[in-house]
């Protein structure tokens, strides 16, 4: 973050960093971004039975401006790829990506001309969730892994921002 330029490392910032990570983790807003069948399991996870609201994630805004987490749930076809990259670019930092389902992780059962063989060829993915479609418990486990990862981030030491080939 910008603040440690003023502190120039005289003060150890773990506690502030813990606070920053904790606040980011506990109110991470997912982007309502459903591509294919995994989207239905994502919706089932948002709603009352599996209830993502307990992790502070009940606001699934469609606009990338209000989202921190992009769950790529479904098959990323080659025609849709420019749109996915555009939406990822238009999300504000800090942002994370979860590749949900076999199709997003590795192209899954569609090993052919029309499907991107894994979204990590174009996006920096934080958590991969196997399954076709993964059960809601699997998605929640993936989200908890992401929360653990966010807690360990050195967010105050200006971590490098991943560059992607812009779809501009």
């Amino acid at each position: 973050m910008g603040i440690e330029r003023h502190l120039n490392d005289t003060v150890h910032v773990t506690n502030l960093e813990w606070l920053v990570n904790w606040s980011r983790k506990s109110s991470m807003w997912p982007l309502g971004f459903g591509l294919a069948c995994c989207a239905l399991e994502m919706i089932a996870t948002f709603v009352s039975r599996y209830d993502l609201a307990r992790f502070g994630m009940e606001v699934a805004r469609p606009s990338p401006r209000h989202a921190d987490l992009m769950i790529v749930s479904g098959t990323a076809s080659k025609k849709m790829l420019p749109a996915i990259l555009r939406i990822y670019e238009q999300m504000a930092e800090p942002k994370w990506v979860i590749a949900m389902g076999a199709c997003a992780c590795t192209g899954g059962i569609y090993k052919n001309y029309a499907v991107v063989q894994g979204i990590d060829r174009h996006l920096p993915v934080d958590v991969y969730i196997p399954g076709c479609p993964p059960r809601p418990e699997a998605l929640m486990d993936g989200i908890l892994q992401l929360h653990a990862k966010v807690m360990k981030e050195q967010s105050l030491h200006n971590p490098p921002i991943p560059k992607i080939r812009s779809a501009g």
């Binding site: 973050m1 910008g2 606009s63 401006r65 420019p82 939406i87 670019e89 238009q90 930092e93 812009s166």
Partner: protein, 118 residues
């Protein structure tokens, strides 16, 4: 005399401080990564067609104006409803007159067809 207005002043200062603090903090502390794609208007993941600064149909403004008029009316109702039990019949009749005046405005607008889109 002065101290009866003190709470209002305190509320005003605190709210102003919080508003300004959020804006200042986010400009100083937040991290900037403006890429041309990020600053482009968001249009469902596609290239925006045409520019957003276009001449809009005038009907949008008519509906906008109507909304503001009746919204202000609503704002006046709030403080009145808050101390409704202290105001005897006078307060009630006073507000009734206010609402009736605006009702006449509503009927006029309805008959002129400003609420219909065509």
């Amino acid at each position: 005399m002065i101290n009866s207005y003190l709470p209002i002043l305190v509320i005003f200062l605190v709210s102003a401080f919080i508003g300004v603090a959020i804006i200042v903090l986010s400009t100083v502390v937040a991290r900037r990564n403006p890429t041309p794609v990020k600053l482009m208007p968001y249009e469902c993941g596609m290239d925006p067609i045409g520019s957003a600064r276009r001449r809009f149909s005038v009907r949008f403004f008519v509906i906008g104006m109507l909304f503001i008029v009746f919204d202000i009316e609503l704002i006046f109702l709030f403080p009145w409803a808050a101390i409704y039990d202290k105001l005897m019949l006078f307060g009630f009749v006073e507000m009734l007159v206010f609402v009736l005046v605006l009702l006449v405005g509503l009927i006029y607008v309805w008959k002129k067809g400003a609420l219909q889109w065509e």
